[in-house]
């Protein structure tokens, strides 16, 4: 092929490179999003089976983390400051995500009580629904809780209380864990928590997940 017009010649030289560039872009794996508050695990971590009890007194297992995204917070109902603050914040994340038109299914909000001695299913049911009618509370005996918390790096320990009413406090990880729809540990949100940033991070994480799967 001979081009007499120099402009057409230049174009003809560029076209193969444009095709190569387009192919490279199409084949390149999606880049992890830049998050404002969340930390993406370098590789989603599968979670081994566990057996907890939900706020209706039913069994809650790994299957209950599958088929939808889940935000999980670990705390206890006797905690007056950090836990209500985090659960209110998480309820605001949900409210913000509900406004998103392109979100087919909302993530679920999970409160994992690390104080099974005081947080019975009945106590948790009333407590979590106060923040968001769709929140679910779960707990389990220490031998049931630890297999889950250990896999997530969530720590908790009883601390001596300073009041006869409180009895004891529990020091606990303040992070929020995000599970993907396959029930894998996908991302972590450390304090301080900001509902706007977490909601916008979640949209980025979800887009990245869908492009990667």
């Amino acid at each position: 092929m001979i081009f007499h017009d120099p402009r057409k010649l230049r174009l003809a030289r560029i076209i193969p490179w444009l095709i190569v560039a387009a192919l490279l872009l199409a084949c390149a794996p999606p880049q992890p999003p830049h998050l404002q508050q969340g930390t993406l695990l370098p590789k989603a971590k599968p979670v081994a089976g566990f057996n907890l009890i939900n706020d209706k007194g039913e069994s809650f297992t790994l299957k209950d983390l599958q088929g939808h995204w889940t935000f999980a917070f670990f705390g206890y109902t006797h905690c007056p400051d950090v836990c209500p603050t985090s659960l209110s914040m998480l309820a605001r994340v949900m409210a913000k995500l509900k406004q998103q038109e392109n979100l087919p299914r909302l993530p679920r909000g999970l409160f994992v009580s690390v104080d099974p001695a005081r947080d019975t299913p009945a106590v948790m049911a009333k407590y979590v629904k106060y923040f968001d009618a769709d929140f679910v509370g779960v707990t389990g005996e220490p031998e049931q809780l630890q297999p889950l918390t250990r896999q997530l790096g969530i720590l908790y320990a009883k601390a001596a209380g300073d009041s006869g009413d409180a009895g004891y406090h529990i020091d606990h990880s303040a992070a929020i864990v995000l599970f993907d729809p396959r029930g894998r540990f996908y991302a972590l949100f450390n304090v301080p928590h900001d509902a706007d940033k977490i909601a916008s991070d979640f949209m980025l994480i979800r887009n990245y997940y869908e492009a990667s799967e």
Binding site: T77, H78, C79, P80, D81, V82, P84, T85, L87, S88, M89, R92, V123, K126, Y127, Y130, F131, L155, A159, D162, S163, D165, A166, H169, D171, H172, S173, A174, A175, N190, V191, P192, A195
Partner: protein, 139 residues
């Protein structure tokens, strides 16, 4: 005139004493159902030239009120009980979610959002301040 000023200050949620202490933005978080403990928050300004400290808080609504601090270190949230909260001269100390706060057992008649609860703050220099803290359902 003085009464008018006092009323204005009260309506703005500011209570101040003659000795340079002022309390602002006091509120108490409504207890979620079943929660045995409640938390209260406020800002204390010490405009005087003398260091002071909050040493106790009392209220007819609560059996007792404790001064606490939540602290998250290496990702672990912990709570500490404080005997006194230092109020440096010319400084302002916030009691806010996730940090310093007042902690009190939830009374049998659980206060609900909209109620106003009297708190008396006792300071190291023997002075006292009374404040009405509204119960709020907020983050």
């Amino acid at each position: 005139m003085r009464l008018l000023l006092v009323l204005l200050a009260l309506s703005a949620g500011i209570v101040s004493a003659d000795d340079g202490l002022a309390v602002k933005n006091a509120w108490i978080r409504e207890a979620p159902p079943g929660a045995s403990m409640m938390a209260g928050y406020l800002t204390i300004e010490n405009t005087s030239q003398h260091d002071n400290a909050l040493v106790a808080v009392s209220s007819p609504v609560f059996s007792h009120v404790m001064i606490h601090r939540s602290e998250t270190v290496d990702g672990i949230a912990r709570m500490h009980h404080l005997e006194r909260l230092p109020l440096p001269a010319g400084g302002s100390v916030d009691l806010a979610p996730g940090g310093y706060h007042l902690m009190m057992p939830t009374p049998a008649a659980q206060p609900t959002a909209g109620e106003r609860i009297p708190l008396t703050l006792h300071f190291a220099d023997q002075s006292e301040l009374q404040v009405m803290a509204p119960v709020k359902k907020k983050p």
